[in-house]
Subunit: 331 residues, 4 copies
Amino acid sequence: MNSFGRLFRVSLYGESHGSGVGVVVDGCPAGLPLREEDFEADLARRRSGAKGTTTRREADAPRIVSGVFEGRTTGAPLCLHFENGDVRSGDYEALRHTPRPGHADLVARQKFAGFNDPRGGGHFSGRLTVALTAAGVVAKKLMPNITIHAELKRDEDFDTRLEAAIREGDSLGGLVECWVTGLPTGLGEPFFDSVESVLSHLIFAIPAVKGVEFGAGFAVAQMRGSQCNDAILDAQGTTRTQHAGGLHGGLSDGNPLTLRVAVKPTSSIARPQDTVDLRTGQPARLELKGRHDACIALRIPPVLEGAVALGLVDLLAQNGGLGQIWGQAAP
Amino acid sequence: MNSFGRLFRVSLYGESHGSGVGVVVDGCPAGLPLREEDFEADLARRRSGAKGTTTRREADAPRIVSGVFEGRTTGAPLCLHFENGDVRSGDYEALRHTPRPGHADLVARQKFAGFNDPRGGGHFSGRLTVALTAAGVVAKKLMPNITIHAELKRDEDFDTRLEAAIREGDSLGGLVECWVTGLPTGLGEPFFDSVESVLSHLIFAIPAVKGVEFGAGFAVAQMRGSQCNDAILDAQGTTRTQHAGGLHGGLSDGNPLTLRVAVKPTSSIARPQDTVDLRTGQPARLELKGRHDACIALRIPPVLEGAVALGLVDLLAQNGGLGQIWGQAAP
Amino acid sequence: MNSFGRLFRVSLYGESHGSGVGVVVDGCPAGLPLREEDFEADLARRRSGAKGTTTRREADAPRIVSGVFEGRTTGAPLCLHFENGDVRSGDYEALRHTPRPGHADLVARQKFAGFNDPRGGGHFSGRLTVALTAAGVVAKKLMPNITIHAELKRDEDFDTRLEAAIREGDSLGGLVECWVTGLPTGLGEPFFDSVESVLSHLIFAIPAVKGVEFGAGFAVAQMRGSQCNDAILDAQGTTRTQHAGGLHGGLSDGNPLTLRVAVKPTSSIARPQDTVDLRTGQPARLELKGRHDACIALRIPPVLEGAVALGLVDLLAQNGGLGQIWGQAAP
Amino acid sequence: MNSFGRLFRVSLYGESHGSGVGVVVDGCPAGLPLREEDFEADLARRRSGAKGTTTRREADAPRIVSGVFEGRTTGAPLCLHFENGDVRSGDYEALRHTPRPGHADLVARQKFAGFNDPRGGGHFSGRLTVALTAAGVVAKKLMPNITIHAELKRDEDFDTRLEAAIREGDSLGGLVECWVTGLPTGLGEPFFDSVESVLSHLIFAIPAVKGVEFGAGFAVAQMRGSQCNDAILDAQGTTRTQHAGGLHGGLSDGNPLTLRVAVKPTSSIARPQDTVDLRTGQPARLELKGRHDACIALRIPPVLEGAVALGLVDLLAQNGGLGQIWGQAAP
């Protein structure tokens, strides 16, 4: 479903080439100062522009449709809406019968009996993440003492490999790291709402994510217990190492939370690809024009931060901690 | 929270050293043949006994408390209860003030203000997975045309490393793979209930899981699009490769679903570990006696299958497909 | 919270005197023909204009912001937005410190620490029911074989009493009846989601509703079993009487569903009322100007139909019946 | 579904003539003193015995299966189980093909394709309310400053009418009133989770309830605004009258909450009734033996209190007020 959250609940809507995308944010406490400028920084980080990102210029200025009065949230749902601007649907018309490999084109058509909006991926477009990012901005503002930071892990030859991919009409995957500090101890709700469960649920909703790991992550499979266990240093629970990623028993343990996300290379590439012509059932050769990111992972960090923020703010709210914590932000 | 599922909903309860553990399964269609023997095979796979698993003998015979009449489900909630048998709480008494590294002991104490049941980890114990496995058995029976299989990935020196770990009073992590065949196309509910989201939510609730990846998983971060994209071979959506793990746009695409899970080494080890004495706040040295698994990953496969089955059966139900599909199991 | 529904989920947003109100409808099957004209009939029934309703002229033309492509629903969320037009906030400014009796003014202020939007009741305004009605229109279109009809019960002297109330600057309550035919047998999900539970949950969300009864309703308290029980006439479950309102054990029994709703008189009246001045804590005398309905019950029927439709369509969806049923509406 | 509640969630299971009934209570804060004796008073009020109630003697002693350690709740789910004792299924065997008017027999059979447990109504039995009552006891203990009281409204000739009904093998309906004092202001979550919505959802899950009204209830339909509006007396929101039942805008307003519930007469009566023989489809004459209540309303008050308590405790929890409030109960 297009909504998530028990007490702080977001509901997404919109399509890539429709009139716009947006999000309704329910459960935001009253009194939070909120202006449209507050979204600029994260939206700019997400926006196209850097080398390896699409040249499509999106209208990323949100309109606060509801939920704010005299500069502060009212306790009623926020509706944050983004008009779609620079849309060239014609680019995609030819693709209607030759589904793009790596995309949801074919499976969306099957699920929705052909009624889905196919333009630019419709509701399956990465465009939706602008609304997710915006909701995350609100969540972050509610947790002024908690720092959430994500960034692309650039190994030494990343730029070289990216340039080669661009030159060759190809794309590149990436690894994005995220860490969170300032979390109170004891967030997470056993059995099913471990912090890992809630965050991975949100993170895997971000298009192109294929793996999520916490702390030492997949490396734990090769470890011994004596090596993996985080020795406890004091009664507050400070640990010598953080192989568990700041999470024990699914609960935040007071140490920094760390996670990593695997992002697949952009599916839309200029190089010819094999697909099928749905009219004939015969093999077809697909050459995409349009404007695409060569490395979608470049734009993921603020989206990932947003997803993480949404999960944490809802867990905080369930612990009765939201009012208290955001209260420190108020004048 | 201790319940999960929109239409097929499980609610867990119980503690490691209390009177028992169990699960209420709501939303199971009426008419499914169900006997206590149906649980034996998966519970035996999960049970201790193999080299590297605990010598604690658990009473793993479920009692069907409700929801079955004359050998078939009635449409009312199933309550599946497991009495706790071979419990030696004394083993754990000494640990009350010296939390075990790698366990939830300390954070559970903090979250629940010291009122949590500390015996054997209480509600945080891996013992709860017996109930999860049992619920998964019901889910699997409802999907007779879908095969879910998980197994520990044993590389060549696994047995050598395991024996060394046991000998040295240590433990070992592991990697568990799972694949699913027979899935209909189009399962998953955008935006937030991608198949990956729902499955990872459930899987990360299993104690000791620190990473989840689908298809090529973390390897996609190093791939190019031309390499990662799964070429489409026919109008049904058969793909040449399955780097996406049978999932596009968060939806099942008709190809086999594959995932891998990183399981950390058992936290309870015989080797001395550093912790804190909560009475004094001073460093303490912990030597665990008790009976423990050396490699909990050995017991994870049926638990993982259960978690995956619960997620899939709920998504099937949301697509109206449950009645139809389970119907084929009825006489 | 501002969302409701398990598979067919609506999320409301907006305020009386903000930029608009709207609703996100999630879970609507793909392929339903939907145009903005489809909403006209019910919105006109709800709109002001008849004797006893406000002279405020609302911009009740919905904009379909998302979820429709080439005239049909796509399976993605519908966003239906209503701009607010004829707004005179100045009318309400004076009221900020003298809460209106019968309204949420004071309690909203207390709940939201004074940050709530006070203009025209803000998010508590009956204006929100335009979005509820619109969502109900979609729900009704998905159930073409089910008829839902509500109307004000006008006893013989209703018009006389209404005219007197208007003349005297007062208002009038009303009783609204609703009946539903064509329901399949067995809707409703024990224990907590009886049809009565789901419908009353939605109906009591409509401002001004103070009572809900099904079938013989409150009259059953005076009946004997031999009189109240509905004799069963055939194997399909046709009953001689329908004192149970077409609901047994919380499930639809195949007979017409009937319910009645008590609507309180409009709280905003011209006659002077006693309240408090929040600045001084002293008693105050309130004389409302503005434009108000004399009998809000006159406008409730399409809203009530919408609420009932939303509950029924969600229960149908949970029974896997939605696709099947709406399919009959498609060309 | 058989679970209810956002943060304080109950999940019911069991059947009238199966091995037992019970409830899993999730979200109960840790540290609440809880013993099996705590349930006695409310269970005794609900138990049969008074004139007009069944002679069946139920084993109403709950077993606390999980969630309590050393006399206090642990924060893990409570499982409260009631064994079924004095069961005479033979009484009901003959009824299998002649559904009882006023009961769920026929509709349950239709919904569950004949697989439902028909003995004593199975999962549809009023027996389930023993578990609801027990969960309500926990909820009440968490709100020591809030008083919830329900009682049958006995008009002057109630006893006379009851005796006549018993004498004639018939049954009688009743009206049950409930009032709540000590509620904080601002409970309830717009738009859909008005206090009325949440409470009526729970109350209509109680078998035999056909109407729910708050404050002046159905009488408001005949009132004028000048008469119905509750004049505000001070800045805390004390009102001169309480026609709104202590609820404005769906929120608790600080005044006593009042509601009334219409309970239909027990459906099982000794007098012959018309039904159908499902084997032949022909009319049949039903004469019930068994042991039945003549006036189920006599036993409703503690059940109603329980339902109300469950709704209020969940709303309190959503306002972050649960910890704070129950804290006052702790030593």
